[in-house]
Subunit: 334 residues, 2 copies
């Protein structure tokens, strides 16, 4: 039977959903704001409404859905179908599988949003053809999705890929996670802004002061990017250092995992060459140069669509598995 | 048909081999010195002789062998069956698969020795029952074997798990690998001895001077262990610091891979609690304490037999796969 799937990317500010055909072709898309303040019930109701709207628009019934995929920005326990923790949604132990079963009959592939982004880049984007892939999302935080042996790798409790919280300096600043010297305290967007503010105090001549209107609170990673593009020395140095920290982190991940490719996504990656140059230089210098192996770093190509596309890919995988006789899917357990 | 398998652990100083039944039971063992100076041909001839001796001793013919496993201390390319590089054997591009085909008809499972140690610990040792496992061998170098999703993980070019060469300090000492601040320049046996020698210059009262007979060249990691056990402050501090560096490295690996368990083997791990205490403390402090996840660290139990046992396990896996209809094994390609 020809079936359709739905992919949903549940973000802290918006929910995006797409209806796709069995071959992965996107047929329709919908999005809405995330009613975070209404709590988990309101957010999940909005998800259900979005899915129904997509189906109705396309003249489909719920029975036409073979599976759905849902990406959540947080810690997801696939066995129980719970979202254990999502800082962006302010969620603790939300029963997503239970919600889904109440509303829909088709099985749900539930996963962390960055992992689904990795899956999408591997299937349709910059990671195509790579069996072992590290996808890094550089934004407000730093997450990663690992594709190992062609499949998403999640670890024993679904916590694998917390790339932002590996140690890059032994005695660095404290991180919210409890560690110190985490990659995230140097190279996430807010960390770049913080380092810029600290450095500005010692550089009264920096263009950053003018761009921020003399108010350090207005300094963002994007502003540091603008300043660097306009030739500001301090801002350029900040990107050099950011690239070096990211290069150290990626070198560590590559030394452990020997991936075929590294895909960089997220807003901070938009900084482009001024970030990529020091990053690639550091990565090359710190990955067993004697072995002659190099690690290609490529920019993500799916942008903000990666989450939805990955949710579609996860739903399609679920359909494939059922077709192969792995039994009927049980919502929340895939 | 009931079959037998042979497991071989090819080390820089000795070759160990074991004959095992289809259920993994070890029936006989043999070992000999590695004729490293004779070059690859002499070493491989010694391997073949050892296997034949095991068979003859047990009244078996070559046709009774279902498969063999061989662990090599170096970089192994399983597709081509080449050992690309082995610093311990002084090998470059040695065609192990070709050698095997010339001498034996059964298929060969070829792998890196630390990976086979990991497999053995997972099947019969301290890693039993764990699907996601990091096995670390602390010795002259620092290697690791990753078992992910129940299988050995090798990476895109067979280089995964180079745990000794992840960066633990940004500006640390140079490593032979080309990087600086690698874990191995702090926590491998020779690195511990080097750090001890450096520290002794500033500590004329240390017991280490007496134990080394006043000759810093005689300082080894084992001597530093003895000194610490006898209460020497400097030696104790050296183990504290070693444990901290290892804890940083393990925290990084755990944050990326979220293993169920970490197994520590190799000679340096014999230092015991004085190493494990700071290691576990650092690991706990640096692995997202907020998530509440803890990572059990357990000592390896198979000791120097892990290599041979792992080679047996790899050979058995090869037999299982053939039994499942994956076609006849082609030597050197498994």
């Amino acid at each position: 039977m020809e079936h359709y799937v739905v992919g949903i990317d549940l973000g802290g500010s918006k929910i995006a959903a797409a209806l796709a055909a069995a071959d992965g072709r996107i047929l329709a898309q919908q999005r809405c704001a995330t009613p975070v303040n209404g709590g988990a019930a309101a957010v999940l109701a909005a998800v259900a409404a979005l899915v129904r709207r997509l189906l109705a628009e396309h003249g489909l019934a719920e029975a036409d859905l073979g599976a759905a995929g849902l990406g959540v920005p947080g810690m997801v326990e696939r066995e129980s179908g719970l979202c254990r923790f999502s800082p962006n949604l302010f969620w603790h132990d939300v029963d997503i599988a239970g919600f889904w079963r109440e509303h829909f009959a088709c099985p749900l592939a539930l996963d962390n949003d960055v992992r689904l982004g990795a899956l999408a880049e591997q299937r349709w984007g910059a990671g195509r053809g790579a069996r072992d892939l590290i996808f890094v999302a550089l934004g407000t935080g730093i997450g990663s999705g690992l594709i190992l042996g062609g499949e998403i790798y999640r670890g024993s409790r679904g916590l694998a890929g917390e790339f932002g919280h590996i140690t890059v300096t032994r005695d660095g600043p404290r991180c919210n996670c409890g560690n110190r010297g985490c990659l995230e305290v140097y190279a996430a967007g807010p960390a770049i802004a913080r380092r810029a503010r600290e450095a500005m105090e010692r550089a009264p001549e920096s263009l950053l002061w003018r761009l921020a209107g003399g108010d350090t609170k207005k300094v963002t990673a994007e502003l540091v990017s603008q300043a660097a593009d306009q030739g500001d020395e301090l801002a350029r140095w900040l990107w050099e250092e950011t690239g070096e920290y990211l290069g150290i982190g990626l070198a560590t991940a590559a030394t452990l995992l020997n991936p075929e490719r590294i895909v960089l996504g997220g807003g901070v990656a938009q900084a482009g060459e001024k970030l990529l140059r020091p990053l690639k230089r550091t990565l090359a210098a710190r990955t067993m140069t004697a072995s002659g192996v190099t690690y290609p770093v490529v920019p993500a190509v799916l942008g903000s669509a990666a989450g939805v596309r990955g949710a579609v890919a996860a739903a399609l995988k679920l359909c494939d598995r059922r077709g192969e006789g792995h039994g009927p899917g049980i919502p929340g357990t895939h």
